[in-house]
């Protein structure tokens, strides 16, 4: 039986808590509170109630009619996390952690954000549950995701620009952790993905598995069987683990898709499992992008939400035991899928999700018509539309958007 992490927060050799001593007791407190909450029916009911009544779950399962026809291969389905309140799967986790923080008596939230989706989710739940919220965001990402910055501010959160490093998600996470070290007595650090020290990878998985739980039930109801392949994009890995987890012990092919940026043979990618090596980042033993001396290197992706040099330790574990296959998709392929989904199905996906879609299209094309592929459409692309238009215009001044 699949039963990780162990009590030390280890997924095989991955995971753990590699943090300054100051954070050890706060982590222990969270772990204790989490373990109690997870077996407390009233907590679960509160969480499910918010998902239903506030975030609009269950999210739909959509059959990709047109693309399935086009690909002439496996039948393609989307789990529509883009239909969540605030537009991505991140809210599932934010609701869970906010309720846990409330249970622990903490009224101030700290969050880091890359694409801004987790920042918006954190700011949202802070507003809804009457808490304060401070969001750290790399200055580069602030520029890339202006819309989400506005949203966070409107929601009443304080957005703190981070100027260190590449000024993206990794650096925002560093700053968030530093701020947390200083304020751990009355702040709750709400991590946005299945990364960080134990118990975060477990906690976030527990709050994201709703994706896979729902999808599995919906899929069986729709198709009368399990999907043959399940695909999700992997930044930190929260939508992927949420999607995969309920299928881990089933006979289902699981594929995680990392960002290959300008190509995994260039220095410009964020393909952590594909190209990374074992090490410690943000409190957790996992795969990461680093140089031979253990300095973490700067990742690159067109997608702010995948632009992260580490990956959740459970993914490192799942890769190491061969249960999940991790592949990668370039900027260009993702952009292509981004456009294709908009034009063929009328859904503008987050550029993160477009990575999963690109791979899913490739897979479906090669499979027979009685097979099925289920993709986690982790978020909507409103936040990306402007930037992608610029990319597309840049790429070919005339080919696109003639009017």
């Amino acid at each position: 039986m699949y039963n990780v992490p162990n009590e030390n927060g280890r997924f095989g050799e991955f995971g753990g808590k590699f943090v300054p001593e100051t954070l050890m007791r706060p982590l222990e407190e969270i772990e204790r509170a989490l373990n109690e909450a997870l077996i407390d029916a009233s907590f679960r009911e509160e969480y499910m109630h918010s998902l239903r009544e506030y975030s609009g779950r269950p999210t739909a399962l959509t059959f990709a009619e047109n693309i399935t026809k086009q690909l002439n291969g496996a039948r393609l389905y989307f789990k529509r996390e883009d239909l969540n309140h605030t537009g991505a799967h991140k809210i599932n986790n934010a609701i869970g952690q906010a309720l846990l923080a409330k249970r622990m008596g903490k009224k101030k939230l700290i969050a880091e954000t890359g694409a801004g989706q987790h920042g918006v989710a954190a700011a949202t739940v802070a507003a809804r549950f009457g808490m304060e919220c401070i969001v750290f965001m790399g200055e580069e990402d602030i520029k890339r995701q202006e819309l989400n910055v506005f949203r966070m501010k409107l929601l009443g959160a304080e957005v703190v620009p981070v100027y260190s490093g590449n000024r993206t998600l990794k650096d925002a996470t560093n700053e968030a952790i530093r701020y947390w070290v200083q304020h751990c007595d009355d702040h709750f650090y709400m991590i946005g993905s299945v990364v960080g020290p134990h118990p975060y990878p477990k906690m976030v998985r527990e709050f994201q598995r709703i994706i896979g739980d729902e999808a599995k039930e919906q899929f069986i109801k729709r198709e009368g069987k399990l999907p043959d392949v399940v695909v999700a994009c992997v930044g930190g890995g929260s939508n992927a683990i949420g999607m995969f987890y309920p299928f881990l012990e089933d006979d289902v092919e699981l594929v995680g898709v990392e960002a290959a940026g300008k190509g995994i043979d260039t220095p410009y990618h964020a393909a952590t499992i594909t190209k990374g090596t074992k090490g410690v980042i943000h409190g957790s033993m996992t795969y990461l992008l680093q140089d031979e001396y253990g300095q973490i290197t700067e990742p690159y992706s067109i997608s702010a939400g995948l632009d992260y040099p580490g990956v959740g330790p459970e993914h490192a574990y799942l890769a190491s035991i061969g249960r999940v296959r991790y592949e990668s998709v370039t900027d260009e392929e993702a952009l292509e899928a981004f456009q294709q989904l908009a034009r063929e199905e009328g859904i503008i996906p987050a550029i993160e999700s477009a990575h999963a879609l690109a791979k899913a299209f490739q897979i479906a094309r090669q499979r027979s018509k009685d097979e099925t592929v289920l993709v986690c459409l982790s978020g909507r692309g409103d936040k990306d539309v402007q930037a992608m238009m610029t990319h597309l215009k840049g790429a070919s001044e005339h080919a696109f958007i003639g009017n």
């Binding site: 590699f18 943090v19 050890m24 530093r178 200083q182 007595d185 090490g279 680093q290 253990g294 290197t297």
Partner: protein, 272 residues
């Protein structure tokens, strides 16, 4: 590592900031100014436990190409240039993993390093390092924090070399004030510790040193010194101005830690 055990002064320097040779010069000055141990920080891309001052210093040192093996070798060079006091390598865990834990200890031993401090390796994760530490005889310095509470006993009772008390919540940096509860915290730590208890994080004024020395066995001074190095860095890098800069550094240090020491009169001499 044998330590006096009282009124200790433990300065922290970032290896390679602003240049490896200067780090040696600074270490010699610190030794002359009465330092008991030197903490030699290995610059890291993602120094989670550090505030902006040490982050900037790390970035400068990384630009010089400083690496973990280089930093350890720098400790060896310090010995050659006359540093006699114990040297502790302060490094984040990831570079150690990449170098290889065994190679790390072997290289440290070879370069006559006296101890190791890994700020993101808490007790629970430290078993493999502890084993190598025991095998090589290089103590792994432990930290306790104001949040450690019931963890204090466990950590303190196994401490080696000295026990590093984090003065307050937060990352490294200079602080105007230290928390009121620090005395009780130190008292509790001393109760369990069999090795000297030192305090660090935020110490940047001689008044703070004066107060703290009654409650512990020494102080670690990091950001305050690194900030001074930053201020002097242009002059430290130029042959003509270097000596004046080193003198000013010594002067600054002696004043800061004066409460710990008797007869430190270099500064007054310089002034004369």
């Amino acid at each position: 590592m044998r330590l006096s055990g009282t009124n200790m002064f433990i300065p922290f320097l970032v290896a390679g900031d602003p240049h490896p040779d200067v780090t040696i010069d600074l270490a010699l000055v610190l030794q002359a100014a009465g330092a008991d141990v030197i903490e030699l920080g290995v610059p890291y891309s993602d120094p989670l436990a550090d505030g902006p001052i040490i982050q900037r210093a790390s970035a400068r040192a990384l630009k010089q190409g400083m690496t973990l093996p280089d930093a350890i070798k720098l400790a060896g060079n310090m010995r050659k240039k006359g540093v006699k006091i114990p040297i502790i390598i302060f490094t984040y865990y990831n570079p150690v993993l990449q170098l290889g834990k065994e190679s790390f200890f072997a290289l440290a031993k070879e370069n006559r390093v006296d101890g190791v401090l890994i700020p993101d390796l808490p007790f629970e994760e430290s078993e493999p390092i502890r084993r190598l530490s025991a095998e090589t005889g290089l103590p792994l310095i432990s930290l306790v924090a104001p949040t450690s509470k019931e963890r204090i006993e466990k950590i303190a009772s196994q401490a080696q070399g000295f026990l590093y008390c984090v003065s307050s919540l937060g990352v490294t940096g200079v602080r105007d004030t230290l928390p009121e509860a620090i005395n009780e915290f130190l008292a509790e730590v001393k109760q369990y510790s069999r090795v000297p208890v030192v305090v660090g994080f935020g110490i940047s004024k001689s008044e703070q040193v004066q107060v703290l020395k009654e409650h512990c066995d020494g102080v670690v001074v990091g950001s305050a010194l690194v900030q001074k190095v930053e201020e002097l860095s242009d002059r430290l890098l130029q042959q003509e101005t270097k000596q004046y800069a080193l003198d000013e550094f010594r002067c600054y240090v002696e004043q800061l830690v004066a409460p710990l020491q008797e007869g430190a009169d270099f500064c007054n001499e310089v002034r004369r």
